[in-house]
Amino acid sequence: MASLALHQTRSFISTFRSSWAQLPVAASLAANLELRQKSFSWALPGLQSLLELLPPIVLAVPKSKISHSRKSMRSANKGLKDKRNIVNCPACGEPKLAHHACRACYSSIMARFKVETKRLATETTKRVSGGSWSRRKAPLMIESPKDS
């Protein structure tokens, strides 16, 4: 059935073409169309694909899966290294990096400075405004309350 249909369409097309060819304008058009249909193709001349331009060595690929053992061997030197420049702070005894300031001492000293600055600022403003604490002098703290 399909082949019959195809044959019929083919004969139909051929009759259509022949009837078209009889007209003078259509004749030149048809010839042009046929020519173009013959020369046109998607692929570049002489090449299956662009890959043929590249040499085969560029397309390197691993031959097989790297084994677990070989992978681990390569990663043996990639571990984090221990720090050996650890010393005890001469003030608080906590561990600290050599040639660096002790973190605990630094934060406690800075906290105390902040507290003192705030206290001085509030004292002066209170004295200026004449508040109830204007004549009293609070004793300086040795360490701020947060330190253990």
Binding site: N88, P90, G93, S148
Partner: protein, 281 residues
């Protein structure tokens, strides 16, 4: 090639870079202590010392030059009065850089840049504390801890005075490093600085001696708070201890002589009892 070029570029254009450094120097003069990255601190220190030299010169030209550099007008008189007086006898080296821990976000090395002999000198604080602790250690060599707690450590100031004239290899109560730091800190300061250091050292000794008591008090307070909360929830038999200050590795208690690497390793630092197993070096 960059052989021997002293200046850093900071990934900024020259105008941006110069203005940034001018800002840092102005902030340093205003606050006398700033915290910034290590590279910026090094370049700022260099510039700041040159400007302080202008302040010491104290003539018309130097005033105009400093005025062209400093970005905040209130800072300028400070340069020609306070700093000129403070560093009158000191030949250079008016700044000091302390390396701090790296910053959390980008692991940048951070430094504390401060003017030497400023009212909040960090090195003076640390030296005073170290002196205090070492005097305590010395006392603990001859006395039991309980005895030291009861008697305390007196004569901190006299001990400090004695240290000022000792050399590098003389033995005394302080370590050579602490003695050297003490001498440096005291070099261009007067008698009142000595009293200040003595007072700070004594105060710090008392803080060290009070630490165990303070810690147990804090722990008891935290425990009672938790018990109260549990009782409100409807659980009167609640028993739990929440350590307020967790046990940290490598902390040297007063009188400790072993090195930090040994303490920090804990059990791995001790040689094991079976044959062939040594401590991790």
């Amino acid at each position: 090639m960059k052989h021997g070029v002293a200046f850093r570029k900071f990934s900024r254009t020259s105008s941006h870079r110069n203005l940034m450094l001018r800002n840092l120097v102005t902030s340093l003069f205003e606050h006398e202590q700033i915290r910034t990255t290590l590279a910026k601190a090094k370049d700022t220190a260099r510039l700041a010392e040159k400007i302080i030299t202008l302040g010491k010169k104290n003539n018309e030209t130097s005033y105009r030059q400093a005025q062209a550099f400093i970005l905040k007008p209130p800072v300028l008189p400070k340069l020609f009065t306070t700093f000129a007086e403070r560093y009158a006898n000191r030949p250079g080296g008016y700044t000091r850089i302390h390396r701090l821990d790296n910053r959390f976000g980008d692991n940048a090395p951070i430094a504390l840049l401060e003017l030497v002999d400023n009212p909040r000198d960090f090195k003076l604080e640390m030296t005073a504390r170290a002196v205090g602790r070492e005097l305590l250690n010395e006392k603990l060599r001859w006395d039991s801890p309980r005895g030291v707690v009861n008697s305390g450590v007196q004569h901190a100031e006299t001990a400090v005075v004695k240290e000022l004239n000792l050399g590098g290899f003389d033995s005394s109560e302080l370590r050579p490093t602490t003695r050297r730091n003490l001498q440096k800190v005291m070099k261009y300061r007067g008698r009142e600085a000595l009293t200040e250091i003595g007072a700070k050292a004594s105060a710090y000794i008392e803080t060290i001696l009070a630490k165990p008591v303070a810690e147990t008090k804090m722990q008891l307070r935290a425990d009672s708070k938790e018990k109260e909360k549990a009782r409100k929830r409807g659980n009167p038999n609640f028993v739990g201890s929440f350590p307020v200050s967790p046990a940290r590795a490598g902390v040297a208690s007063p009188g400790e002589t072993r090195p930090a690497m040994r303490l920090v390793q804990g059990a791995l630092g001790r040689p094991a009892r079976w044959r062939g197993r040594h401590a991790l070096a």
